[in-house]
């Protein structure tokens, strides 16, 4: 049970306050990009390439322009005149806005049709004739570095092959030594497949350029409005759109999950066209465009190895990654971290030696590498370490829970320095796994498994005890395009004691309007109900790097607490003035200052705020406002212990997740109900890559599942009953001890499921299965092993 310091009326931290934003969502009053309609607004649709790799011979817009309502067809050649045909990616690579001569992936933008309504724009798109000269695409990243591979990026000066970057962490020599001398070495190759965030709302924008004021208002689906404004100013500053002339508004967003961090060509084309014609331009993707062309996540090919002594004490790990980035590296990682925070992959275990390296290559696939609910590649890392931990347990014949207990970093070893350089802030891994095992009756399940196996039935139990790394990040290491990854809060309390607070982050469903209000309520004692939260308008909100990678609570949440504390300090001065006592004689309880030993002499926060406008001490600044830019001293390290039970039908190989227990530790909890909701959503997005989702391309570069008919997003039907719980190990350095939770379940769930399935199949000699593990894959594996022949 969470202890709350505040009353339900105040609803500070720990209260399951109902979400303030839900009324408008439930009543259809949300305001999304596609709801925005401006006078004279034109519509844009995008012609896309049917080929993965082709020369553009000719674009003929003649027929399209004959369609009533079609106003213009914009091509790369048109943008080239303004030097807007290329743009930088967040990883300082370059990406085409519209191609002038070559297309690099199927569904790439080729031309834009501008029309008076959306239907005419779509008809126009169908009528644009493009003549291509197809070339053989490079689809397999393993062939990217072959001698005969085509050079995909001759446009980049000095680029002589398809290699993008090399990255490494840890100690190569020391790791090799440990591996050479270890009793046991286990290895597996694993592919963490390319998947898509598939948010309910696709991407879109309304670009509204005012020629008279030379001012652009950009309504867009972005998780990072301030960063986008800066990027627009950097890209279009040379045509007069300097940063003060750009206002980015991110209205309600129907799911982001990382997919709404990058700048997509559609946004830039809309801006360019609005700039040229002086009218608002709306562009909204359809579902297939979103699925086929927007940034993907994952696509790491990992060779994972683990060394241990004969008792199962982990001694070292070694991961070698091949990263398929498509035709440009358009990830949204901090500059110094091309693999994101992959180096968290040493996991929750106490050993001192590790080495990781990664090479990124170009292929003819859509660009990206976004943090799909995975805090920068943590999903890939956790999958590798958690699969290998089970692999080791299988190898030496030890129970995987026991093996974990024997290897966990102990509670008193924190802060713990990892072999790849991180300092884990806090954790209690033993407590988490113990609680999960108790909740699911681990011992009982193992007994049942023995009986089931005797009957030839396939039942598996899988564990994942992961460490997350979120809250990017400390400015000494973390920046995007040079901008440090702090975040901000500005609180303004009105004379009557009600407040508005603005943030540099942007909720996409996380519930910021509620949780931020609760943090401020906790610190100031103003009821959360009375605190209005506003985000997403760069003209009003303080600068921040946005919401992704579970960074909002660790950064902006901390900023809210710090700004509120500045106000509480001011409140104390005013209270001392009003009560005519020294500040040292005052004591605080949520909502009021009272005189020590004389509790009847007190001033509520509302009285104090009113005084700050009506009767503030002479010499003190009037009003009640504070701003804080929070630069975290370290990242936060949430953790979790997940246990999953699966039953596999021995004839159809259908996989049924019978039970799934998730114990999360995200430090102090702001709103338990919201955390639970986040965990449920995250777990469902964890079962997705484990069992269903993968973007599949054929050799010719066709995406074979570019619609929801073929790309399987799990629904309530596929979701098991999630059983959740938590342990609380506060972050010692975070102002409110919170750590962030949004992504933990997506990170932790896939290996738990994969481990359970492999555990079930291990009786037939299976040691590893590549995700997504489908019934057909299981059937093929068992068929290969002659399992069906025996029966």
């Amino acid at each position: 049970m969470i202890k709350c310091k505040t009353s339900k009326e105040i609803s500070g931290m720990g209260h399951s306050m109902k979400r303030k934003e839900d009324a408008r969502f439930l009543k259809g009053k949300g305001n999304y990009v596609d709801d925005i309609k401006l006078p004279g607004m034109l519509h844009m649709d995008i012609v896309r390439s049917p080929y993965a790799y082709a020369k553009i011979v000719k674009i003929n817009a003649e027929e399209a322009l004959k369609i009533p309502g079609v106003i213009a067809v914009v091509t790369g050649k048109d943008l080239e005149q303004y030097n807007l045909h290329w743009m930088p990616t967040l990883m300082s690579d370059t990406q085409m806005v519209l191609p002038t001569d070559t297309v690099m992936y199927q569904a790439q933008e080729v031309a834009a049709v501008i029309a008076t309504d959306r239907y005419a724009a779509r008809d126009g798109k169908e009528a644009v004739m493009v003549e291509y000269e197809p070339m053989k695409p490079l689809m397999d990243p393993k062939k990217s570095m072959d001698e005969d591979a085509p050079l995909l990026r001759p446009d980049k000066e000095g680029q002589t092959n398809n290699h993008i970057w090399h990255w490494e962490a840890g100690d190569r020599e020391a790791t090799e030594k440990v591996f050479n001398e270890a009793d046991v070495v286990v290895k597996e190759h694993m592919h963490i497949p390319r998947i898509h965030v598939a948010s309910i709302e696709t991407c879109g924008c309304v670009a509204d350029y005012d020629k008279v004021e030379n001012h652009l208002t950009m309504y867009m689906t972005t998780q990072a409005p301030h960063a986008i404004r800066t990027v627009i100013a950097l890209v279009a500053g040379h045509v007069g759109l300097t940063e003060e002339k750009v206002r980015v508004i991110s209205p309600d967003i129907g799911g982001g999950f990382g997919g709404k961090v990058p700048v997509y060509p559609g946004y830039v084309i809309a801006i360019a066209v609005s700039f040229l014609v002086g009218k608002p331009i709306k562009w909204v993707e359809d579902r297939s465009e979103n699925l086929q062309a927007d940034s993907f996540a994952r696509d790491y090919h990992i060779d994972a190895e683990m060394a241990a002594d004969k008792n199962g004490k982990i001694l070292a790990t070694r991961f070698k990654v091949l990263a398929d980035h498509g035709y440009t590296d358009a990830s949204a990682n901090p500059s110094k971290f091309p693999t994101g925070l992959f180096s968290i992959g040493t996991g929750s275990y106490d050993y001192g030696t590790a080495f990781m390296e990664a090479d990124a290559v170009y292929t003819n696939k859509p660009p990206g590498g976004v943090a799909y609910r995975c805090s920068f590649r943590v999903t890939e890392a956790v999958h590798a370490i958690e699969r290998m931990t089970d692999r080791l347990a299988l190898e030496i014949g030890k129970d995987p829970a026991q093996l974990r207990f024997e290897n966990f970093i102990k509670k008193d070893q924190f802060p713990w320095k990892s072999p790849t350089g991180w300092e884990y802030d806090s954790g209690d891994y033993h407590a988490g796994l113990e609680l999960a095992m108790k909740a699911i009756d681990y011992e009982g399940l193992r007994k049942e498994q023995v009986e089931k196996r005797a009957n030839g039935e396939m039942m598996g139990i899988g564990i994942s005890t992961f460490t997350e790394i979120v809250g990017a990040g400390p400015s000494k290491d973390f920046d995007i395009l040079g901008i440090k990854m702090f975040d901000s809060a500005e609180i303004r309390v009105h004379p009557t004691g009600k407040a508005i607070a603005r943030f540099g982050t942007k909720s996409q469903g996380q519930g910021h309007e509620t949780t931020y209000a609760q943090i401020i309520a906790e610190e100031l004692g103003i009821p959360a109900e009375h605190i209005q939260i506003e985000e997403g308008d760069t003209d009003t909100a303080p600068y921040g790097l946005g919401t992704y990678a579970s960074r909002s609570t660790p950064t902006a949440g901390a900023a809210a607490a710090m700004a509120a504390r500045k106000l509480r300090d001011k409140a104390k001065k005013i209270a001392a003035h009003l009560l005519e006592v020294s500040e040292d004689d005052l004591e605080w309880e949520p909502g009021k200052f009272s005189v020590k030993g004389a509790p009847e002499k007190s001033k509520t926060i509302q009285e104090i705020v009113f005084a700050s406008y009506t009767n503030h001490p002479q010499g003190m600044e009037a009003g009640f406002e504070a701003t804080h830019y929070y630069d975290p001293p370290n990242l936060t390290f949430p953790s979790g212990a997940y246990i999953c039970v699966v039953d596999i039908d021995k004839e159809t190989c259908e996989i049924k997740v019978r039970r799934f227990v998730a114990i999360d530790d995200c430090g102090n909890i702001i709103n338990p109900m919201i955390v639970q909701g986040q965990v449920h959503g995250g777990l469902t997005q964890g079962i997705a890559p484990a069992m269903y989702e993968e973007l599949i391309y054929d050799e010719a570069g066709n995406i074979l599942n570019g619609t929801f008919m073929d790309y399987l997003v799990p629904t309530a039907v596929e979701s098991p009953k999630w059983e959740t719980g938590h342990t609380v190990t506060p972050s010692p350095h975070h102002p409110i001890g919170a750590k962030g939770v949004g992504e933990s379940p997506t990170v932790g769930a896939p290996p738990a499921i994969a481990n359970a399935i492999v555990d079930a199949l291990s009786v037939h000699g299976v040691t590893h299965m590549e995700i997504p593990i489908t019934p057909f894959k299981v059937w093929k594996e068992l068929q290969k092993r002659g399992v069906f022949d025996k029966e």
Partner: protein
């Protein structure tokens, strides 16, 4: 994506009669559902078009048909078709290898077809392409047999016809040629 189809059938007619049909582009092409010749370039090269239409996807391919091999002695034929979507939405390439042998007083016709489809049809119809192609060539075989007998052949392509065949074949029916009753039209939700 590439689909390979291998078919064999027995024709009652003599090998020379079958060969005269299979080596005649005018007669061969008009057996393929939705296909027609538009221009004779020279004796080995022809221009033509194929309409593919099922569910939400309609594609018209303009292409060049080339007889790479026409060996009247060995009765071997190799035909290559290269089609570009008329609206630049993709391409379809086909290689057909066919050979005839005398058998049981008639002719055994064996052919293999490799079809590679790129672009919109592959993107949206990948799941259906094997089924569609199979039914297209079931129909091609039936049309060709009829043509050998001197019957008139209707190789026009309609959405209902195509989709119906595919839907049936997905549910295990429709493989039989005699089952020609058109199915109910597809539900509207499959076309959006």
């Amino acid at each position: 994506m590439t689909t390979t189809i291998t078919r064999s059938f027995q024709a009652e007619e003599s090998i020379d009669h079958v060969w005269s049909n299979i080596s005649n582009p005018e007669r061969l092409v008009t057996c393929l559902p939705g296909a027609q010749l538009t221009e004779t370039v020279d004796e080995k090269n022809f221009k033509g078009e194929v309409v593919m239409k099922f569910g939400p996807v309609k594609a018209k391919y303009n292409g060049l048909i080339t007889f790479e091999e026409l060996n009247a002695e060995t009765k071997q034929m190799k035909m290559i078709g290269k089609g570009l979507d008329s609206k630049g939405k993709g391409s379809a390439d086909m290689v057909m290898n066919c050979n005839l042998t005398e058998k049981d007083g008639g002719t055994s016709v064996d052919y293999t077809i490799n079809i590679t489809i790129t672009g919109m049809l592959a993107q949206f119809g990948a799941r259906l392409i094997t089924d569609v192609t199979n039914s297209v060539f079931d129909e091609f075989t039936a049309n060709f047999k009829a043509k050998l007998k001197g019957e008139e052949v209707d190789n026009s392509m309609s959405a209902g016809k195509m989709m119906g065949t595919v839907v049936k074949s997905m549910f295990g029916g429709g493989k039989k040629k005699e089952d020609a009753t058109p199915p109910p039209p597809p539900k509207s939700d499959t076309t959006t």
